[in-house]
């Protein structure tokens, strides 16, 4: 099967903690890898932590095509900085002395934004490698499973902070990064939300931050873990609700299920009225089988959301 064309350097899944960024990023990646695209996912979880939250057990046996095309990687900012250092210090002994010195270690730990800017530089390098298709090490799709909203926006802003507040090599790098990530052909962003008060508030803030401060308006917003009732129209739902609540014996259990959805529906409308990006729905998957089956189960819905851009 031939891979569908992609024109963007980087597809980003971002949003509040716990809304399913990693799940959707992996589901999307898995779907595309199974269709034949070579996919790299940059996750913000160290791989040992990722293994705690989700498991791809059985991938090789059940989806060999996807397994061969899917790469998951974690960028350790400290390593990127160390790597830069190694390049400028020729002597191995001196290199080791510098890397292990407390001056260096403490400085990179507390210098605000330094790790973020190193991370962005590495991400850009990956995105560009994809574009230029040099030295055989190519792939079709780069996905960033971003950290939670605050840290995500702050990572993107780190570039500007360095550019505005300092001079020297990192300020220049900051300037280049600001330009790269503001270019829509460089990066498209999908905030992920769940239909709960806090998550929706944060999504609206994120939408505004991305549109007004970073100048990258979201390509679409994905409402994750929705109930199947969200597919019904307001009219249909009102009919159902009235039927249940006016029944001769009040059906408390059914009412509980529907009340949960009243909140969900009103938050969906709130989001709809506030943002201009299109909204996409991904239903909450029943937790019967393995993580892998769950990912495969929702990969179609996520793929459709990204493709409809």
């Amino acid at each position: 099967m031939s891979a569908p064309p992609t024109d963007s350097g980087l597809i980003v899944f971002c949003g509040k903690g716990g809304v399913g960024k990693t799940t959707l990023a992996l589901a999307f990646a898995l779907g595309r890898a199974e269709q034949g695209s070579k996919v790299v996912v940059v996750t913000s979880h160290p791989l040992t932590e990722l293994a705690v939250s989700i498991s791809l057990e059985g991938l090789k046996e059940k989806y060999p095509q996807a397994a061969a095309n899917l790469y998951i990687t974690y960028i350790e900012a400290r390593e990127v900085l160390n790597h830069r250092l190694s390049a400028v210090i020729p002597s191995a002994i001196l290199r080791k002395a510098v890397l292990s010195s407390r001056v260096y270690q403490s400085l990179i730990e507390v210098a605000p934004g330094l790790k973020e800017i190193a991370f962005l530089a590495r991400l850009r390098q990956l995105a560009e490698r994809r574009r230029h298709e040099e030295d055989g090490e190519t792939f079709d799709l780069l996905i960033w499973d971003a950290p939670a909203t605050g840290h995500f926006l702050q990572t993107l802003k780190a570039a500007r902070n360095f550019h505005t507040n300092l001079s020297g090599p990192f300020a220049m790098l900051g300037d280049e990064l600001v330009q790269f990530f503001a270019d829509p052909s460089g990066m498209i962003v999908f905030p992920v939300a769940t239909l709960e008060e806090m998550a929706v508030e944060e999504t609206i803030d994120l939408y505004r931050g991305l549109s007004n401060e970073i100048h990258v308006p979201p390509a679409g917003i994905i409402c994750n873990m929705a109930s199947p009732l969200l597919a019904s129209s307001d009219q249909e739902f009102d009919d159902i609700y009235r039927k249940v609540t006016t029944a001769e014996s009040e059906r408390q259990d059914l009412k509980f299920m529907l009340d949960r959805h009243v909140e969900e529906r009103s938050l969906f409308h709130k989001l709809e009225a506030t943002v201009t990006s299109p909204l996409h729905i991904v239903e909450r998957a029943p937790e019967s089988g393995s993580d892998l089956e769950m990912l495969v189960g929702i990969s179609g819905q996520v793929g459709a959301a990204v493709a409809s851009r």
Binding site: G17, N165, L166, G168, F170, M198, L229, M257
Partner: protein, 344 residues
């Protein structure tokens, strides 16, 4: 004096549970403070939280409260400004607050939030609170909050900053020979790597910031000692049913490695098992939703049983909090949760 710290991954309801546990304790008596990072708007209203970093008293009218409940936002910028004004001489404070590195420091919340959490707990203890409930940033950041103060302490005590002190400018011209050849070589290399202007800005900043930092570091050391003392501090791991097994394993081992004591495991938002009697002419959408709900809620019960079985005897309190049909509204809703959480 008791400190309770709530940890967990994002979106599991740490903030509500922190507030509810604080409320439960306040009902029994004592001066309680809930320190929270980013509550939802309605919870913020319930807790009477405005933008100020100073604690606000929560109105418990109508509840059988013997004690007091206070709440405060963990506002990084405000807490840091407050620390600077508190620990520095007026003229020094001015220099610090205007420094470009200070500007980056306050806007780069990832690192500072953790540092300031410890500072804020210290401030609260001095303000005379008997019970402090702390809502932490998600997952990995929660541990940075416990690990970072030590980095900070290291930074202000490392020789080069000590030596430079307030005579940084002078040192640049004349005092270099005081550094050993090796230390100087290292310093130059670090400067080359990170850019001389960045390193000098940082050193310059910390040379002025030093009084603030040392006072901060001393307090951070004292506070961390309290956090390590199981008679004073307990940790609560908050999770949701499907994440429960993995979260419990992860936080249990992370906290144990750091010698902190885990007091409770709270599984939040468990969907109750429901067997609704269905109307004869069931609309398709409703039928599908009921089946979907039961599927999810049975999964919840299975996860819950498994994790409670595994941790019974290891973690003293295992608590399940049922899903509410609606999001939190006001202190009454917190009270409802508080009852299912039980006494801390």
């Amino acid at each position: 004096m008791r400190i309770r710290i709530f940890v967990g991954t994002g979106g599991v309801g740490k903030t509500s549970l922190t507030a509810a546990t604080g409320l439960q304790t306040a009902l029994d008596g004592g001066k309680c403070l809930v320190l929270t990072i980013d509550p939802a708007w309605r919870l913020r209203t319930a807790l009477n939280l405005t933008s100020s970093d100073l604690q606000q008293k929560v109105d418990l009218a109508g509840l059988p409260a013997k004690g007091e409940l206070w709440a405060a936002l963990l506002d990084v910028g405000a807490s840091l400004d407050r620390a600077v004004r508190l620990y520095a001489r007026p003229k020094q404070a001015e220099t610090v607050l205007k420094h470009p590195i200070y500007h980056i420091l306050t806007t780069s919340i990832a690192g500072m939030q953790e540092l300031m959490a410890v500072e804020r707990i210290g401030q609260a203890l001095e303000d005379g609170f008997e019970y402090i409930f702390v809502d932490t940033a998600p997952a990995r950041h929660a541990f940075e909050f416990l690990d970072k103060p030590e980095f900070f302490v290291q930074l202000v005590t490392f020789p080069i900053v000590k030596l430079i002190g307030r005579t940084y400018k002078l040192w640049e011209g004349s005092a270099m020979q005081k550094l050993s050849h090796k230390a100087f070589e290292l310093y130059t290399r670090v400067e080359e790597l990170l850019g001389a202007s960045l390193v000098r800005e940082i050193l310059d900043f910390f040379s002025v910031f030093q009084t603030v930092a040392e006072t901060y570091a001393n307090r951070a050391k004292r506070t961390l000692r309290l956090l390590r003392d199981p008679r004073v501090t307990g940790f609560s791991v908050v999770t949701t049913p499907f994440k429960a097994g993995r979260d419990a394993d992860y936080f249990w081992s992370q906290l144990r490695d750091r010698r902190f004591s885990v007091e409770s495991l709270i599984v939040n938002r468990v969907w109750p098992a429901l067997q609704p009697d269905l109307p004869g002419d069931l609309p398709t959408a409703l039928g599908r939703t009921v089946a979907w709900y039961q599927d999810v809620s049975q999964g919840h019960q299975r996860s819950l049983r498994a994790v409670f079985e595994k941790y019974s005897g290891k973690i003293p309190k295992l608590i399940a909090v049922p899903e509410q049909s609606q999001d939190l509204h006001g202190v009454e809703a917190l009270y409802a949760i508080a009852k299912s959480v039980g006494k801390p």
